[in-house]
Symmetry: C2
DNA sequence: TGCCAAACGGAACGCCGATCCGTATATTCA
DNA sequence: TGAATATACGGATCGGCGTTCCGTTTGGCA
């Protein structure tokens, strides 16, 4: 095993050209398929769209979660980076928190089935869960702490719990026009505020 | 109403004894299996526990939802009937609403996967969804209207939306000790109150 | 007791995720 | 340039599940 850097960065032994091409095709096909049929779309369908065999999917993305993460990584990063920016924007911390949660909700409700997958206990999705938690909970915690310190909200709610609650409220948001996830999240945040 | 469990109406032509016995076995086996492995437990497992073939399950309960409804019908009825009782109990309508939601949450969080199934868009579960909506939303609406009329809460939230929100918040409540669905629901209700 | 509709059980089918291995090819080196 | 070899490919295959279907069994009744 010595020398074979399975790591992701600079020391990686440079993949074959067709491998890189296929990985790209897969990302594009998956992005399309997720929009068209949700993140639960059958693996074979993604493979078909990308013009590769199913084996190739599993070689590049060992779990469905890994594929989802890869497809949405940019957007998650953007959301994470928006947190500090909103805090620094001059608005009250509570407003910053509300705006940030809005971004998160916008992201979730436009991805069919992503909110569901995030909360699923399916072993396939633990990676997905872990990624979102790792990346976004600290950001949320920062916003939460600032708002609490400013005396604008209750201080007995953990970031993880709030994010799970918000994520849960987004489930099925795109299925039933009578259910407005944004409004429910607004209610949750209203309950968080001190008066 | 002297007859066996689900669906025996007065005009029903009286089922065979073995059929009634099997239906009973299935209900018991399903109740056990739901507790042990959640409402997504494989059909074959329920059939095995009950000592019948899979065909027999489908004959008695054409969809998984029908089986779930049959297993939990009593508890859902009790919850539905508790609504008017709480309203009449002398507490403020808002307290009555909170107590009733508590009952609903208690029911949901103790049934592995039921909250998930309730919000699932799987075609198999539309019956389940419909039953809960039909039976509980009117009760919730009554409580909501009373509280709104008393000026205790906002009046722009529909019962259906509130119940879906509460149901969503209960998802995964039994999986992660760091997530307390009850507390999140409390937050949601706090956001509903006028100050 | 004998008949037959009702009910049963489980084999069989289709769909899906996941794996595995014979084949094809990009890259390297002489 | 032309092998040699590691790398990657593709799809056949397996196991699990929901659902259907049909030959067999059995309870109820005349």
């Amino acid at each position: 095993m010595a020398g074979t850097g399975s790591g992701s960065e600079s020391s990686a032994p440079r993949k074959r050209a067709d491998a890189r091409r296929n990985e790209q095709s897969l990302l594009e096909a998956a992005a399309e398929a997720f929009i068209a049929s949700g993140v639960d779309v059958p693996v074979r369908e993604i493979a078909g769209k990308a013009g590769v065999g199913v084996g190739t999917i599993y070689r590049h993305f060992p779990t469905r979660a890994a594929l989802i993460v890869a497809v949405y990584r940019h957007q998650v990063e953007a959301c994470a980076e928006a947190g500090p920016a909103l805090l620094a924007s001059g608005d009250s911390p509570c407003t910053a928190l509300a705006r940030w949660i809005d971004l998160f909700v916008d992201f979730l409700v436009t991805k069919h089935g992503l909110a569901e997958a995030l909360q699923s206990d399916d072993a396939t999705f633990v990676t997905l869960h872990a990624y979102f938690i790792d990346r976004l909970v600290p950001v949320c915690a920062e916003l939460l702490a600032a708002a609490a310190e400013a005396g604008e909200i209750r201080s007995d709610i953990e970031a993880l719990e709030l994010m799970r609650g918000v994520g849960n409220l987004c489930i099925g948001a795109d299925k039933d026009p009578r259910y407005d996830a944004r409004r429910m999240v607004g209610l949750l945040l209203a309950g968080l505020r001190l008066h």
